[in-house]
């Protein structure tokens, strides 16, 4: 292999591999990026067997070939090199030279035959699965509004991802829950349909977010077999679907609430954030005390002290108080910048609360209270 590539082009590709490569080092080859070069294309591939990414870069190839190099090290070297373009050249005994200006690095390539195969980049046949096109911005937004509620419980694998499905044509939903709170987003998109739903793994979506960062235009999202694929120009991301049944989320979203509070996001976020400092480190329990026009955020921690903040709210109901894990509220108040208003629907101290942001009918966040 002997190739020339622009540093900026190459670094973009390597950046995308960084989150994918295996961190636990179970199989050494999974810490590597596969670099294939033919014609005038360089293809970078990384996978941890659950998630895979493939990025095509333009370059000039004088001798085609395939090598695999440690993805972290290569990224760090290339990022630091004071040159605008690079030469990668394989030599005897598995050595690969990385040359940029007057800097020369030699890295060891592992045998590319050891690199696991990931699905070929062929368009998904209509029969074999579903494929849809949607705006990168919408997909990124839907991921951001649900991903944080995914469970980290190793014993409940089906909650370890975001459920995506359509209930009817031209509509798509994403839902995530950890058993204490649930985030639900629904968007209308012409031509879209995904039935039955599937569970997308957390790690795959973290990478999808990275892939969609600042990108405009459309992406293709498709499901085939047990793989989901997100594709935009020159990049494909694969992820293995989580098997198992996602719980019936529709049952847990309250249809209506007895009490409704409207409040600006920013002061509520600030008060919760500060009061939570004194809450129990494990449970993060805070109490919300409502009176007409005001909301008190309170916590008592026998070991450290007490905190109380009062904010003005739009509330006309009776006096009422309820406990919550502050983090669960902060998570939702913090998404996509702390601006605008929020409406919280509450029924009683043992029933789920429901949070809506900026009157977005397509978004619901359901959170169970704490007994304090």
């Amino acid at each position: 292999m002997d190739l020339w590539v622009e540093k900026s082009e190459f670094i973009q590709g390597l950046y995308l591999t960084q989150g994918v490569v295996e961190k636990r080092n179970t199989l050494p080859i999974l810490a590597n990026v596969l670099i294939e070069s033919t014609g005038n294309e360089i293809v970078l591939t990384a996978t941890d067997l659950e998630v895979g990414i493939r990025r095509t870069c333009k370059g000039k190839i004088s001798r085609s070939g395939t090598v695999t190099l440690n993805a972290r090290k290569l990224y760090e070297i290339v990022r630091e090199l004071p040159a605008d373009d690079l030469i990668l050249r394989s030599g005897e005994g598995g050595w690969v030279e990385v040359i940029g200006g007057k800097s020369r690095y030699r890295m060891v390539s592992m045998d590319p035959k050891e690199f696991p195969s990931i699905p070929a980049s062929t368009p998904v046949a209509k029969k074999a699965g579903v494929a849809m096109t949607l705006s990168a911005g919408v997909l990124a937004e839907m991921i951001e509004k649900t991903l944080f509620a995914v469970s980290s419980d190793e014993t409940r694998l089906s909650l370890g991802g975001v459920f995506i499905e359509s209930i009817e044509k031209n509509q798509i939903r994403m839902v995530a829950t950890d058993g204490h709170r649930l985030a639900f987003v629904e968007r209308q998109i012409a031509g879209i349909e995904l039935r039955p739903g599937v569970i997308l793994p957390r790690k795959g979506l973290v990478e999808a977010k990275r892939l969609l960062e600042g990108s405009e235009g459309d992406v293709t999202f498709s499901i085939a077999g047990n793989l989901a694929r997100v594709e935009r120009s020159g990049v494909e991301l694969f992820m293995r679907l989580i098997e198992g049944e996602f719980p019936d989320y529709r049952q847990v979203i309250p249809k209506e609430s007895k009490r409704r509070v409207r409040v600006d996001r920013e002061p509520l976020f600030g008060a919760l954030h500060r009061v939570a400092i004194l809450s129990s480190e494990r449970s993060r329990g805070v109490k919300l005390r409502l009176q007409p026009g005001t909301l008190e955020v309170v916590t008592t921690n026998p070991d450290i002290g007490e905190a109380m903040e009062e904010i003005e709210v739009d509330y006309t109901g009776d006096e009422f108080s309820i406990g919550f894990n502050a983090r669960y509220l902060l998570d939702v108040l913090g998404i996509a910048g702390v601006t605008g208003t929020v409406e919280i629907g509450l029924t009683d101290e043992v029933s789920p609360g429901i949070v809506r942001i900026d009157d977005d009918e397509g978004y619901s966040y359901v959170v169970m209270p704490m007994r304090l």
Binding site: S151, S152, D153, E154, T155, R156, T177, D178, G179, H180, R181, L182, P247, D248, Q251, V252, S280, R282, S283, G285, G323, N325, V350, P352, V366, V367, M368, P369, M370, R371, L372
Partner: protein, 409 residues
């Protein structure tokens, strides 16, 4: 002369604790060699009465071996629940003597008496009173070592046994330690002893004659620590960490077990027992550890040990949740061998206040189970454990299960 900064530390150690409890409760056992331990072919000696020790029997020895040494010994399966109850009574007595009590196990503790003797009087008189009180209230013997540092107190109580008291004054420490073999120092095992022998060191006194630098060269940083200990310098304070760090149950199977079903039964029995203790103490745990000893012997009575652990998103005191986590770990450990011992432990404990309610149907089940658990606990507390038991309770009950571990993570 006692320097003003010198501390007074008691090491109180019950004599042949499990065996002594059995002898106390069954007059037929008194004066006879009694061995507490798994009665199966697989078990090890958990405790041996002094009558049995004469035959060379000691704890951790395979029961089979003990039986060969003393065929007439009485073998008792042991009742951990009873020993734990006794332990609580004994520690309640310790607590009267010092606010700083560091439990080492169910039957052994350090007491920092530095402040207490100022209040209660001469250490030896105080220790005598403490020993008499334990004897009067529990019918059991406790040996006490008194010294200015922990290590020396522990050695002293050991030398005082059985049913004795030995005090080492601050200015006697060096003379006391000098003739003792180096193996008396905690942490000096066969390997270190062999290395020290090559340096010509047999006694703690020998250790003092060697320049620290040579010890450091031979044993690394630990050599320096050893030199300090040999001079009777042990800076470790008595850590009054009375709160349990983990709750565990384990069992050596009568016969090696391969069947996943049987392993899951054992997991459930352990998980339920742990959960009950967690609830009794009003704590919950977040981390679940599964411990497996494989049947494939390594020689020397050792077996490969596999441990796997995971952290739950929420602390629990529910047996079903603990069992589910342990089963996940069992799958993860994928043992191909037969299993000799299976243990479950729950750690990262927190107070049970501030309960997060669940959203999903399965969590609602958890809430229902929590109510059920409370009801079962109430009934068992009133009418005994046998009054109510979970369906399909395993045939093989946990035998001598491990107690609360203190001071460990």
């Amino acid at each position: 002369m006692r320097s003003p900064s010198a501390r007074t530390i008691f090491h109180a150690d019950m004599d042949a604790f499990f065996a002594a409890v059995e002898q106390r409760d069954d007059p037929a056992l008194r004066g006879r060699p009694v061995i507490v331990g798994g009665r199966s072919a697989r078990g090890v000696v958990a405790a041996a009465s002094y009558e049995a020790r004469v035959f060379g029997i000691h704890s951790a020895m395979p029961t089979v071996h003990a039986r060969r040494l003393c065929p007439d010994a009485v073998f008792v399966a042991g009742d951990m629940r009873k020993y734990r109850r006794e332990s609580r009574r004994i520690f309640a007595i310790f607590d009267r003597y010092s606010p700083t009590v560091e439990a080492l196990s169910l039957d052994e503790a350090f007491l920092d008496m530095t402040g207490s003797t100022r209040l209660l009087g001469d250490p030896v008189a105080v220790a005598t009173r403490l020993r008499a009180e334990v004897r009067a209230e529990t019918g059991l013997a406790v040996s006490v070592g008194i010294a200015p540092v922990k290590m020396v107190a522990k050695i002293a109580s050991d030398l005082a046994k059985p049913d004795g008291l030995l005090a080492v004054a601050p200015d006697e420490v060096c003379a006391f330690l000098a003739p003792l073999p180096v193996g008396r120092i905690f942490g000096v095992g066969p390997v270190a002893r062999a290395r020290l022998t090559t340096l010509g060191i047999a006694t703690i006194g020998d250790l003092r004659t060697i320049p620290e630098a040579r010890l450091a060269a031979a044993l690394g940083v630990w050599g320096v620590e050893l030199a300090c200990l040999a001079r009777g310098e042990d800076a470790r304070a008595v850590a009054a960490d009375r709160e349990a760090k983990s709750y565990g149950e384990e069992q050596t199977f009568t016969r090696d077990v391969e069947s996943r079903e049987r392993l899951c039964e054992a997991i459930r029995a352990h998980a339920e027992a742990i959960a009950r203790r967690l609830r009794r103490d009003h704590v919950r745990g977040r981390r679940v550890t599964l411990k497996l000893k494989l049947a494939r012997a390594l020689g020397g009575g050792r077996y490969p040990l596999v441990t796997r652990a995971l952290t739950l998103p929420d602390a629990t005191d529910d047996g079903a949740a603990i069992a589910a986590a342990a089963r996940t770990l069992l799958v993860r450990a994928t043992p191909h061998d037969a299993i000799r011992l299976l243990g479950v432990a729950v750690s990262r404990l927190e107070s049970a206040a501030g309960e997060q309610m669940g959203l999903l149907a399965t969590d609602r089940d958890a809430a229902r189970r929590a109510r059920l658990n409370r009801a079962v606990d109430t009934i068992q507390a009133r009418y005994g454990d046998a009054a109510l038991r979970r369906g399909a309770a395993p045939a093989e009950r946990a035998g001598l299960s491990q107690g609360i571990k203190r001071g460990e993570d």
